[in-house]
């Protein structure tokens, strides 16, 4: 009980008097739109690219799998600030940036830069958690599905995915939180357009806590419920079976 209170204690900060909350509707709306809209696009790309990757890694030999997991772990373990700097350099004018320029693609302070950064910071989390979800489905059940006349595609949709779907939801929720709350990398690659983390930072710098609190509350409300529910549902299912 005491542990729970200590763990949740930071939320008490929402009730600390910091003066009259200052609501800047245009900044807040723009930050919310940028964060939610771009994160949704990034998540769609993460799912489309990450799911086949997770399926591939979950089915390969242990040796090859270790290599892939090492690569995925590097993307997860890179400090966000370092990743932001590396992305700026790797996609900058002295590297890939000059090539992308030919197609009119700018990789600094653009929606594209924002979304690409979000994909880089979150896809490793998604793939690793999706692999764990796929690992939780016994291979014997998939074999049984094939023996009962179902093609690999049908086995995935009728056995593997239904059994791993909450694991996939957890994977997506982890990636969602990671992308939505990303600050360190995004502040380097896409200071503009400002998402919620950057908007909170600039509001804090320029106007102090009263300007930050409304944005902070919206930030928590949009970031927390989906992963929170996904984890709870996954645990309830595990306990039931």
């Amino acid at each position: 009980m005491l542990f729970g209170i200590v763990l949740l204690y930071p939320l008490a900060g929402l009730f600390v008097p910091v003066g009259q909350w200052h609501w800047d509707a245009s900044t807040t709306a723009s930050a919310v739109w940028v964060s939610l809209g771009f994160t949704a696009v990034a998540m769609a790309i993460v799912v489309v690219l990450g799911t086949p990757m997770a399926l591939y890694v979950a089915r390969i030999s242990t040796h090859e799998r270790m290599w892939w997991q090492a690569i995925l772990l590097i993307s997860v373990l890179l400090p966000p600030l370092a990743l932001g700097i590396l992305l700026s350099l790797a996609f900058g004018p002295h590297a890939l940036g000059s090539f992308l320029d030919l197609f009119g693609l700018k990789m600094t302070n653009t929606p594209l830069a924002f979304i690409v950064t979000q994909i880089y910071v979150s896809i490793g989390y998604y793939v690793l958690a999706a692999i764990a979800a796929l690992d939780s489905v016994p291979k014997g059940l998939e074999t049984q599905g094939a023996l009962l006349g179902h093609s690999p595609w049908s086995v995935f949709w009728r056995i593997t995915f239904p059994m791993a779907r909450l694991g996939f939801a957890v994977a997506l929720s982890l990636a969602w939180v990671r992308a939505l709350t990303e600050f360190g990398a995004v502040v380097i690659t896409a200071y503009y357009p400002a998402g919620m983390p950057v908007a909170i930072w600039t509001s804090l710098q320029n106007f102090g806590l009263p300007a930050v609190m409304p944005l902070l509350l919206i930030f928590l409300v949009t970031a927390l419920p989906f992963p929170w529910l996904a984890h709870l549902l996954a645990q309830r299912r595990e306990l039931r079976t």
């Binding site: 094939a146 009962l148 006349g149 059994m163």
Partner: protein, 235 residues
């Protein structure tokens, strides 16, 4: 439906190489008998396609299953093991109908009803598959395998760990459908009593090799090896 099985499979394992060549006439039942670890299950897996032989061939009637490897999901084979492998996210009825193409649903209704009634699955028909007993799960697995009316039925010690009453019941049901549906059957067990109920012919396996292929009377009268004699001796 009358599919003869013609198998000649070799599979290298860590302990020895399984090498077996045999035929089972269409519509008949044959047993694979031997101690645990003799290679019986490997032979069945190679026929079902869940393992690939290193060399040899497998034919079922006109169909060549290996080589090249014919996709597992297209093989007209039913394969039942000790583990019923029921799909936990589906109920009993959904498990049983899992292998039946949806457009065949109406045509197969009578057949599914027969399976349900004969295997006494009525009371658990809509129950979640994870909530039924081990004995009930074996009945469901048998019904699910037979629902597709396979041409070849492979049974890998499917009655292990069940009480004698239930084993007798399942053997009777299986024997009945073997006669009425006419599928070819290959049954693995280390209990001669179980094999004898269904299979007039048996192939004895030791360390991956066939040591004798004969009717039960011949096998008991003249076992080819001391180990086989021990296996057939009363306790």
């Amino acid at each position: 439906m009358n599919c003869a099985l013609d198998a000649n499979v070799a599979k290298v394992r860590k302990d020895f190489t399984v090498e077996a060549a045999f035929q089972v006439a269409g519509g008949t039942a044959c047993g694979l008998f031997g101690v645990s670890g003799a290679g019986k299950s490997t032979i069945l897996s190679c026929i079902a396609g869940t393992e690939q032989p290193d060399r040899g061939y497998v034919r079922l009637g006109e169909l060549t299953l290996f080589p090249p490897a014919f996709p597992v999901y297209l093989r007209p084979i039913g394969y039942l093991t000790q583990d019923p492998y029921l799909f936990p996210h589906l109920n009993v009825a959904q498990n049983i109908c899992f292998g039946i193409a949806e457009h065949n649903g109406a045509a197969d209704k009578t057949w599914i009803n027969e399976l349900r009634d004969r295997l006494q699955l009525d009371s658990i028909w809509r129950a979640p598959s994870y909530a039924i007993s081990g004995g009930q799960a074996r009945r469901v697995a048998l019904a699910r395998m037979l629902a597709r009316k396979p041409n070849l039925v492979l049974l890998d010690e499917p009655f292990t760990g069940l009480d004698r009453h239930l084993v007798r019941e399942l053997l009777d049901a299986l024997g009945h459908w073997h006669k009425t549906l006419g599928f070819t059957m290959l049954l693995v067990d280390h209990e001669s009593e179980v094999l004898e109920r269904l299979c007039p012919q048996t192939i004895a396996i030791e360390a991956g090799r066939i040591v004798q292929q004969a009717a039960w009377s011949e096998l008991r009268a003249n076992p080819a090896t001391p180990l086989l004699a021990q296996l057939l001796a009363p306790l």
